[in-house]
Structure formats: structure tokens, C-alpha cells
Point group: C2
Chain length 148, copies 2
DNA sequence: ATTTATGCAAACGTTTTGCATGTGT
DNA sequence: ACACATGCAAAACGTTTGCATAAAT
């Protein structure tokens, strides 16, 4: 599923324009945190991962800054926070194409699946109980091809 | 969805026979913890909730005992642990009919949906990427009828 | 008698917070 | 200059663990 050569045209190039002009300030920390997320390819970074990556360029960065910035980016809709059941939340830049996560409970591999896969389920729920499935990313557990 | 008068025939009456005979011991604590879960109707109890309920009868019970017992019951397949995104895991006795959770992000209401609702999704995933959807309970976020 | 379970207290990992200082605008 | 962001340290949170004691088999 992961294809390192593909263009990341799916992701905003920079968060600056989106942060600026809402009373938000563009700091070195925030830029580095955003870059860490965007530069992660398809990996899912925990807050600790982000701290580690940012510290390469800015060793003094504090975890609380990272947590606060991640919260901020999530609130602004630029980043998604997902609980993959690993004990710590993981973050990734929001993509144009909404997707969900398939976690292999045996090897830990995480695949993406397009949101369209849920269309049937969503209408089933709507029809059955009136429940309107939200936009939050889903985590589905099971076995990947290799482990099944 | 919740119907207080319905028989809870869906749930094992007692855990004792299932625990005994595996080197497991039936203690007052374990019985009370099991009763708390079964007596909760359709509510989802956190570990702290269970502690509170057990303490009515046995004030000296310790959280670690509750955590250990819940782990045990989960391992034995008698109880399910679910992360509803509330910060703490919730537990409920395993029912004959597997189900999943619909969490309303506005009012917090939790509905159940039968596992059959996922059949379509499961085969879609199997066909598309070979991913075999597991048996773990799912948590779907969205809006309930009243809040949609 | 033996082995497992309990309670307590302390430790854990992740995340949040208060507050004085620093920095973008 | 001002408001907002940062770093630090401490605390909060749910959960787990070590160990001596207690209880079930």
C-alpha cells in the first residue's frame, strides 16, 4: 500500500497560511512539527516520535509544546489524531481523501482503506437507527493478507 | 435501544463454572466484579465504575484487584474491553450476539449495532486487500438520531 | 499444605497544567 | 508593546507491578 515515490500532493505544503491570520503565530517549533508530520510519508507518528524528529533541528523543544501544537493542528483540522490501540495517539496530516486504518493484530502493520469502503455501512446505520456516521477516522482490527 | 425489562438471557448467569477448573479461584471479589458487570444492564462500566459498585458490598476492594480480574475475564473471553474514546476502557459481559458501538459525539449516547452490519464491509476488505476483519468490537463515532 | 489472589503503595507511560520567560506580530 | 507561545517542572490520569499477607482449593 505504501508507495514512497508517490507525490504527497494530497497534503497541504505548509501550515503557515492556515495558521496565520487567526491570532495564531508561526513559530520555528510549529513549522518543524508540521514538517515532521508531512515528512513522515505514510508512517503514523506518536507525539514522542514528533518530539524526536523535531529535536534533530531544535534539541530544546519541549514535549508540552509538541502536545499543544498537535492539539492546535487537530483543532484547525490540519492533522488527525488516531488511537491505534498502541497506548499513545498517532498523528498524521489530514489528506484530501479521507481514509481509515486497518491494523493487523499479529504483525502490527497498518494499512489505509478509502472512506468509500464505509458507504454501505453508513447507509445501513442511517436506515436502521438514524445514526449518522461521522468523519472521524476509524481503526479496524484484524489480520493482514500475510498473517491471515 | 436500551430496554430495562428485557431478560439478560444473553449473558452467562455466573462466571464461577467458567473460572473454576483452570487453576482459577472463585473469590468474593471476582464474584462481585462479575455481578457488577452483569447487573449494569446496557451501561458500559469503566474500571473505576466497577470499583465503586463492588465497594458497596466490599469497601476494602482494591483497584488493582479489579484491574487484574477484568484482565482475567477478558482473557477468558467472558468480558469485552472497549475503548470508547472516553479516556478509560469500558467493560461489559460478552453477549451471544456480537455487537459494536455507535458513540454520539454530541450527547455521548452509546448505541449497539449488530455485527451483521459489518458483513458488507468485511467482504469488501477481504476482496480489496485481503484484510480479514477481526472479532474485536468496533467503536463508530457520529451523531445519534436526536442529535443529527 | 499449597498455590493463587488480595491489598497496599509505589511506579509507570502518556498527556496536561501552572507559571515565569521568551518571541512573533 | 502586546498577546501569544515556549520551556520547565510538577501534576494528573488510567493502569501496572512488587511484595508481604490472606484466602481458596
Amino acid at each position: 500500500m505504501t508507495h514512497p515515490h508517490e507525490h504527497r500532493h494530497d497534503v497541504p505544503a505548509t501550515a503557515a497560511p492556515l495558521l496565520r491570520g487567526r491570532g495564531r503565530r508561526v513559530t520555528r517549533q510549529r513549522t518543524l512539527i508540521w514538517n515532521a508530520l508531512v515528512g513522515s510519508g505514510d508512517e503514523h507518528l506518536s507525539a514522542a516520535d514528533v518530539v524526536a524528529r523535531v529535536r534533530v533541528d531544535l534539541p530544546s523543544v519541549s514535549p508540552s509544546t509538541v502536545y499543544r501544537t498537535l492539539d492546535l493542528l487537530v483543532e484547525e483540522g490540519l492533522v488527525s489524531r488516531t488511537d491505534l490501540g498502541t497506548g499513545s495517539a498517532v498523528y498524521e496530516p489530514v489528506r484530501r481523501h479521507r481514509h481509515h486504518h486497518l491494523v493487523c493484530d499479529r504483525c502490527g502493520r497498518v494499512e489505509h482503506v478509502h472512506d468509500d469502503a464505509l458507504a454501505g455501512l453508513a447507509s445501513h446505520l442511517r436506515a436502521q437507527s438514524g445514526f449518522e456516521l461521522g468523519t472521524a477516522e476509524l481503526t479496524l482490527h484484524g489480520r493482514c493478507v500475510d498473517c491471515a
